[in-house]
Subunit: 186 residues, 2 copies
């Protein structure tokens, strides 16, 4: 399994469907890095072009990796070590290329079913268990910009919970998707 | 499906395995209520005996149910409407008794495998899909006190992610467990 995840802060939509750069949420770093570590993800990219937001993310990471937090909670350190801050999806793809010697397959996630390039969970699980490097992209705010959806290889089917309600947090959605693709429920 | 969830703030363990009452985390209310609504959970109980913490939870709920938040984000309102603040597991059980006319089955969750009363995901899914009322309990901080584990009907198997790392946030764990028990992946 050569699975990577990216949390995209730009370009994403706000609630009025305008393109924005969202702010970094401390809980996203914690929850997604812990889920990533649990499911054997190789790296977790925090993607934002905003320098002050990159600095904020780096400060949080340093606290847990080498600062007071590292001694206070070594499990958190272990999770945070997976995180890399980068300015674009292209930069994350380049990093994976350096590590794996191949261009990763890009799989976007979206809460709404997309017509083009749909990918079922069964098919996605097959890809994740193959020898292919994969970068799974999650959007913050109201989701990934169309420009990203158009540039990826696949768009994973939305999570269905048996109701019409379709508003999971990105922290919950990412945990569920990692469990579906890389977990092994008894 | 008559599924209920409870997020327990007392009695739980701190990192030194002392019995404590944990503080309410704003993100837990948001993320778990949204996951509960997604998976058709009937009510989500915030369980704490501390009055100031009950008041804090109630203030957050009112903001999203009738205050500014209700107009700003109606989806959040819809999720928060599932939440009830109560002082003990017994109070939640009593509320479910009033609603369903039966005592719910109590299923605790724990990150560590317990010897007694283990419940697999397949068996738990069967129970959730039966006509039986079920209260699924999640612990905050370092997990549910032994006293709770001893008093429930079953203890759900821990989530395995294919690695030795076993430190999901309660927000991620609850989302994954709801998906495993009440979801329908394609």
């Amino acid at each position: 399994m050569k699975l990577y995840i990216g949390l995209v802060h730009y370009p994403v939509y706000n609630k009025n469907r305008q393109r924005i750069a969202s702010a970094i949420t401390n809980f996203d770093l914690h929850d997604l890095s812990r889920a990533a570590r649990t499911y054997g993800v190789r790296r977790f990219y925090i993607i934002t072009p905003l320098l002050d937001q990159q600095e904020l993310a780096t400060r949080i990471l340093e606290h847990w990796k080498v600062g007071y937090g590292a001694a206070y909670n070594p499990h958190r350190k272990e999770a945070m070590e997976l995180v890399r801050v980068c300015s674009s999806i292209q930069e994350a793809v380049g990093d994976i290329g350096n590590l794996e010697g191949e261009v990763p397959l890009l799989i976007a996630t979206d809460a709404t079913r997309q017509e083009e390039k749909p990918l079922s969970y069964a098919a996605a699980k097959g890809l994740v268990r193959s020898s292919k490097a994969i970068l799974l992209l999650f959007g913050t705010a109201w989701g990934l910009d169309r420009e990203i959806l158009e540039s990826v290889d696949y768009i994973l089917d939305p999570i269905k919970g048996g109701t019409e309600y379709n508003h999971l947090s990105v922290r919950a959605a990412a945990a569920i998707i990692l469990d579906r693709l890389a977990g092994n429920p008894g």
